[in-house]
Symmetry: C2
Subunit: 339 residues, 2 copies
DNA sequence: GGTGGCACTCGCCACCACCGAGTGCTAATC
DNA sequence: GATTAGCACTCGGTGGTGGCGAGTGCCACC
């Protein structure tokens, strides 16, 4: 009763299917892998694996194909992480190191990841809510409008324009700027309510309307999760999959175009695990992604996850390689943000 | 010798082909359009049109399909602009009016345009180089780093960090900020060199290093055309085309993923015409886009074109409708930026 | 438990014939 | 001279058929 061999068979099936994209049969399996048994034996093992739901036959007389459950077992227990080559690591490091600002870092990361994995890559901008405030800048525009620029520790910059009911005194703005930065800088959203109220109270009653408006904008901007952004690259990689399974790609692209869907996905996956999380086929809550798998990891300065990156492709993907790439890019990204 | 009818025939072919996506034959043509002649006559006209290069036969015994040249004639002389319905106009106005900041405006525009046209929509961010400077804000970060925030009249905000060789005096930053804004605000890149030099010269020699560094960053940021950004939506609309002509979509998506290509394209088209410009098939310089057409228009405050929007799809597209939509969105966009 | 043998299934492909849409041409007609 | 009816011809698409071969499940045997 060699249970081990059955797992070997499953591993071999996944590996072969991923590379050839064709249902794999018993003979091919013994030829390509050193299994040291006859095809007939493999067939028995396959029958057991199929009974258990790890593999399936597309048609009666075809080879076997892994099911989502089969991929899951493969990812959890059978695949060993493929270390990146030195050249790949160097490429990542130098490519990311050249970035000039946060936009550029994110942009480069997403391109890089899509090239490394040959999948669609997704990078979420560092979440405002979770990053600490570095600085608030106020710029009086005209009479009753103030531009509020919010800069976070991760280098993200957001601007909002506040419209006031009435003009403000000229010296209010510099004072408000100073007070805001003294009280609020270095804090994150959750720690912000008290200091902001204190700032408001420090002003004369007649000025509080304007002050409160600005304070509210600062808090709301950090709180706004809808403003979260993701960028994407490598959509064309999906078209390869479409040639194999025509029609499956459409819903995937549509899902990807809905930033909301993507963000929910990444957020959900944040809860799955500390390290790299993998969602396979039907494990995705979004129906359009029932044929897709996603490999995601968090990144951020100081070991705090502040946003996530991921690679998305057909369930039939090179999990070991993808996991390695996603993890590597996430780490370099964290390192850069920390530096 | 009714040349007019031949043009009618061409128009009818384009219209039918665009809606049915099938080569159109002489009989179908007389049935669907009130041409008042027999199929045989149409066949003669078709022979002439084919001879002149406006239409072609996919196979010997098939109907006719417009060539790029045929589409070009159609666009230039045969199609009348389809006015948008009141409902569509209202939808555009309200949808764009809800935007909260420039990012949001651009984002909404691109989604809107892709939905209106059922094509891939592209929106270029207002060019920094062409927009006037509204305000420069300086934020001392630590010892030797200053955050420079540049705000343009179109509401775009760019930030850069300047690393200085040595620490600066505490009161230098406010003074520099004030002088920069007095001299440079309201100017555009081309008018900026002189005022910036004057600002530099207003400072003591010992301080000029830091001042010049900041001034350079301001100018370089505005000059950096590589930093131009475009956003895209509706990629999935292309897949419809792929079902009809498998394989033509891959290069298009790849071209679209290269922002540089897109930007060059939009810039080239800026020169084509003042109003809506159309590039059809091989007219596109980029090879990957030989099967695609692009409809683009400029937008910007005060009648100045400051960036462009466009819709991209298969050459077989509804030009009249697409042109109307692109123009409409461009106008609303301009109005919003001006307001 | 593993293996060799064997009958069976069924998707894929090549082949073929047929249908029909569409054409070009010619001769007759307005 | 333009238009039309008629007609022979082309050729892509469809559907049916048969053979091939990969792959299976099962059974008897080691």
């Amino acid at each position: 009763m060699s249970d081990d061999r059955r797992l070997d068979v499953l591993r071999a099936i996944v590996e072969d299917y991923v590379t050839t994209n064709e249902p794999v049969g018993s003979r091919a399996l013994v030829e390509r892998h050193a299994l040291d048994v006859s095809p007939a034996t493999i067939r028995n093992d396959m029958a057991v694996l199929e009974e258990a739901g790890y593999i399936a036959q597309p048609h009666t007389s075809a080879g076997r194909v892994p099911t989502d459950k089969g991929y899951r077992l493969f990812v959890d227990r059978l695949s060993s992480v493929k270390p990146l080559s030195a050249a790949e690591r160097r490429a990542i490091a130098t490519f990311l190191a050249d970035a000039v600002d946060l936009d550029d870092v994110v942009d480069r990361s997403v391109r890089l990841l899509s090239q490394l994995t040959h999948q669609v890559a997704v990078v979420q901008y560092p979440s405002l809510a979770r990053s600490a405030l570095r600085h608030v800048e106020l710029v009086p525009l005209e009479d009753r409008r103030i531009l509020v620029v919010i800069i976070t520790e991760t280098g993200r910059v957001e601007q909002r324009i506040v419209e006031l009911d009435e003009p403000v005194a000229e010296d209010l703005v510099p004072e408000l700027r100073a007070r805001l930065n003294v009280s609020a800088a270095g804090r994150r959203l959750s720690e912000l309510d008290v200091p902001l109220s204190q700032v408001v109270e420090a002003f004369a009653v007649g000025e509080r309307g304007a002050v409160r408006a600005v304070a509210d904008v600062v808090r709301d901007t950090l709180a706004e999760t809808t403003e979260e952004r993701v960028v994407m690259a490598g959509t064309s990689n999906l078209l390869r999959a479409d040639r194999d399974f025509p029609g499956t790609v459409r819903p995937v692209i549509e899902a990807l175009e809905e930033q909301v869907v993507l963000l929910r996905l990444l957020t959900e996956m944040a809860e799955d695990t500390v390290d790299v999380a993998v969602r396979i086929g039907h494990e995705n809550t979004h129906v359009g992604l029932a044929e897709a798998s996603i490999v995601a990891a968090g990144y951020g300065a100081d070991g705090e996850t502040v946003a996530r990156i991921g690679a998305l492709g057909p369930t039939r993907m090179d999990y070991a390689g993808t996991i390695a790439s996603v993890r590597a890019v996430a780490r370099y990204l964290s390192r850069i943000l920390a530096g």
